[in-house]
Symmetry: C2
Subunit: 82 residues, 2 copies
């Protein structure tokens, strides 16, 4: 059994309007030292497989098919023994 922690980020070349909105809000609140905001997703899930290679394959396939839009997003993940 593993716990998977998946990070999905917009590719660097893709504009991030949510990040821009937050950056603008930070400037309005006088946090002028904070900039270049990029928003991604962090997905945690449980993998009910005992073999690490099988667990990696399952999570990678789920990322490609459902969790990330690979045209616009990059994903990485790590597995922790649970």
């Amino acid at each position: 059994m593993f716990k998977a922690i998946i990070t999905v980020k917009l590719r660097p070349s893709i504009l991030d309007p949510e990040g821009k909105a937050i950056e603008h809000a930070l400037q309005s609140l006088d946090y002028t030292a904070l900039s270049c905001v990029r928003i991604g997703k962090r997905i945690e899930l449980q993998v009910d497989l005992d073999d690490r290679a099988a667990a990696e394959a399952a999570v990678d396939e789920a990322c490609r098919k459902l969790l990330a839009n690979t045209v616009m997003e990059d994903y990485t993940f790590e597995l922790q023994k649970a």
Copy 2:
């Protein structure tokens, strides 16, 4: 100058409907080994301060005031020298 990587997660006691929807989609796609999906946010931003303590204070305050809803969410962050 630092790069801050902020993780915002729903508190464990709070229901995560987005996670439930993804879990349901995973089951429909026959990824039966994957369960207990929880969705969080991962925010990257640049901190234009040279002092680590000042940078930590600025990011922590921004998290509390803008980036996280501390009633429902927990946040953690790390600073990387950029």
